[in-house]
């Protein structure tokens, strides 16, 4: 029992909660921007997997972690450009395009992985990983220093992206236009805003962020690639956007909360405490459904989310 309580505030658990939250936050922020432009990208899981592979293989073969991150981001952007062509230009049903992207992306990543690293039965190939970026002085603060200021640089970047993104979306002309595209594309079109162009940009940003999330999984966390590397994180990120009601502050809180639940159950398992950890893992998904029901009257869901825009058709 004391184990169960102690793990709740354990420094290691809190630090790993933030670490686990990082890819969720990155992908969710990107998806939120994409959705604000009216595109529901269900292909996050595939995008993350492809990026994780892109980062891994380049980091390993070119022996450069930074090039690895770059190519992961590139792979993410490439896949979301494909999505953009499908949904924004050709106007394929978004849900279906997203699912196709998942299948294609995960299959492609795994195919290429096996092509580059034939199955030998020996040890899994492993790339280098980034070291933790401990912030001087601040990381020496007892407790807080270990939890908050001894993380990866990408974690700091993800958290700092929140206020930047908030400013960009809510205080700039561009942000206003992007949000309008998701709410009323016809009106935007009339005002001379390029709806298709905006949606491309929003998807590319989403791909960039999902790419960073993928890179985080391979060249920051584990140095490994395997077919299930995303492990549902793309779907959880989608859930977080809804749970956070498309608002940045709540998305940050949601990511941290979901990350915390995961870190907590992991530490309980590691301590051999006999609790049904699956129930803790199911909580985010149940809460997301609950949030959909509870928030339905004050939902910030973009009005035109998931609906293809045809000029001249009503």
């Amino acid at each position: 029992m004391s184990d169960v309580l102690e793990a709740l505030i354990n420094v290691g658990v809190l630090a790993s909660a933030i670490r686990i939250a990082t890819p969720l936050l990155l992908a969710a922020l990107g998806e939120m921007v994409t959705e604000r432009a009216g595109i529901l990208n269900l292909g996050l899981e595939g995008t993350i997997t492809v990026s994780a592979f892109g980062s891994f293989v380049v980091a390993d073969k070119a022996d450069s972690l930074w090039l690895g991150v770059l190519s992961g981001v590139g792979a993410g952007i490439l896949l979301s450009l494909l999505m953009a062509v499908l949904v924004s230009s050709i106007k394929v049903e978004q849900v279906v395009a997203g699912l196709a992207l998942n299948l294609f992306g995960i299959g492609m990543a795994f195919y290429l992985f096996r092509a580059v690293y034939p199955q030998t039965g020996g040890e899994m190939p492993r790339s280098d990983t980034f070291d933790f970026a401990e912030i001087p002085l601040l990381s020496d603060i007892p407790g807080v220093g270990e939890v908050v200021f001894s993380q990866h640089w990408l974690t700091y970047a993800a958290i700092l992206a929140c206020p930047a993104l908030w400013y960009g979306l809510n205080r700039t002309q561009f942000g206003l236009e992007l949000r309008s595209v998701g709410n009323n594309p016809a009106a935007c079109d009339m005002r001379g805003i390029n709806v298709t162009g905006m949606q491309y940009l929003a998807l590319v940003f989403g791909g960039l962020m999902a790419g960073l999330a993928g890179a985080f999984l391979s060249v920051f966390l584990s140095g490994l690639f395997f077919v299930d590397v995303a492990a549902g994180r793309g779907w959880i990120a989608l859930a977080i956007v809804i749970f956070g009601n498309w608002r940045i502050g709540r998305i940050l809180a949601g990511s941290l909360f979901f990350g915390y639940l995961d870190a907590y159950q992991l530490s309980l398992q590691a301590r051999g405490v006999d609790v049904p950890h699956q129930l803790l893992l199911a909580l985010p998904f149940a809460l997301t459904i609950a949030a959909l029901v509870v928030n339905r009257r004050r939902s910030h869901e973009p009005l035109h989310l998931g609906v293809p825009y045809f000029r001249g058709e009503r």
């Binding site: 529901l40 269900l42 494909l82 499908l86 230009s89 050709i90 106007k91 394929v92 049903e93 849900v95 279906v96 395009a97 699912l99 196709a100 992207l101 998942n102 299948l103 294609f104 992306g105 995960i106 299959g107 492609m108 795994f110 195919y111 096996r114 092509a115 034939p118 298709t196 077919v227 549902g232 779907w235 989608l238 859930a239 809804i242 049904p276 699956q278 129930l279 893992l281 199911a282 998904f285 149940a286 997301t288 459904i289 959909l292 029901v293 339905r296 998931g306 000029r311 001249g312 058709e313």
Partner: protein
Amino acid sequence: MNTDVPTTPGPSSGSLLRRSGWRLEKRLEVKPWHEVVTLVGAFIVGLAICSILIAASDKSVVDSYRALFDGAFGSRRAVYETLVQATPLIFTGLAAAFAFRARVWNIGGEGQFFAGAMGAFFVSNLWHAHLPRGVMVPVLFIAAAAAGALWASIAGLLKARYDTNEIITTVMLNFIILLILSYLLGDLWRSPDTFYFQTVTLPESAHLPLIVDGTRLHWGFGIAVAMAVVVHVVLRRTALGYEVRGVGINRTAGSYKGISVPRVTVLVMAISGALAGLAGAAEFSGIHHRLQLDISNNFGFVGIIIALIGRLHPAGVVVSAIAFGALVNGAVTMQIQTGIPAALVDVIQGLSLIFVLSGAVAVRYRLQRTHTDE
């Protein structure tokens, strides 16, 4: 469409296109052969791209595809195994097609598959010692359909009552049911003689009979094809089918015609879930005879793709499920003979879908020479 001249051509805005003296025009009618050409074209483009992938890894393209084909259809045994692979996909494909006809986006086939398998295991585990096979097997199929329907109904009811997005709720329910199963496999349902997350293997009284002895081809395939006929009849010949199609074409108009949209939504979800649940029963009782976490090879999600490639038509679903079953089955042979990773099949499947989807839109347009230069 309104009657004025389309000033914006085609699906993409095309100033480049216009300057070249061509423009895209919407076709007035799409003929069936247009669609067939699109489907075949999509498949060929998918294969062509995969050929590049194969060639890039220094393997013979012809040998690889021959191995793929041999593995799928090269012998009687291969054909049976292809049908075995197609069986769950027919069920989940029908599940998706039925829901999508009403424009109810059930993405939860994967979860409903597991709900069905769990329902089937639950009753088999309870009664297999007391019931003869002739009673046990139908009962476990009914239990699976009920469990699948029940699990899908959560999303259906939430949509009908609160207008929650069923795409999101069904996806969330997929994760929840898997975690519940994982919990049960680690606890109540875990077989006492193993450390793995699996149940006991049930005796013959809970096994679906085989169609051909000495193979794995079980009667689940027959049931799947029968369900395709049933779904077709329901859609074309019953009041419910009329309502389903009506809601799918236009929700608002449907409600003016006296169709209760919430009622149809819940019913469609339940029936779709039941079909996916049957897939779980067929795999459990026809192949595995016990529950594990990996009894589904993405059947729920692949079913969605099959439904779309099959144009949401039951016959189309059966054909594309067999084609996908052949790919999966042939890929194993291909991997053994040529060393090409079987994951190539996922790439082919994903690519075919992408091209089929694009083709389905593209077929509605045609290129037309513009009369006046701008």
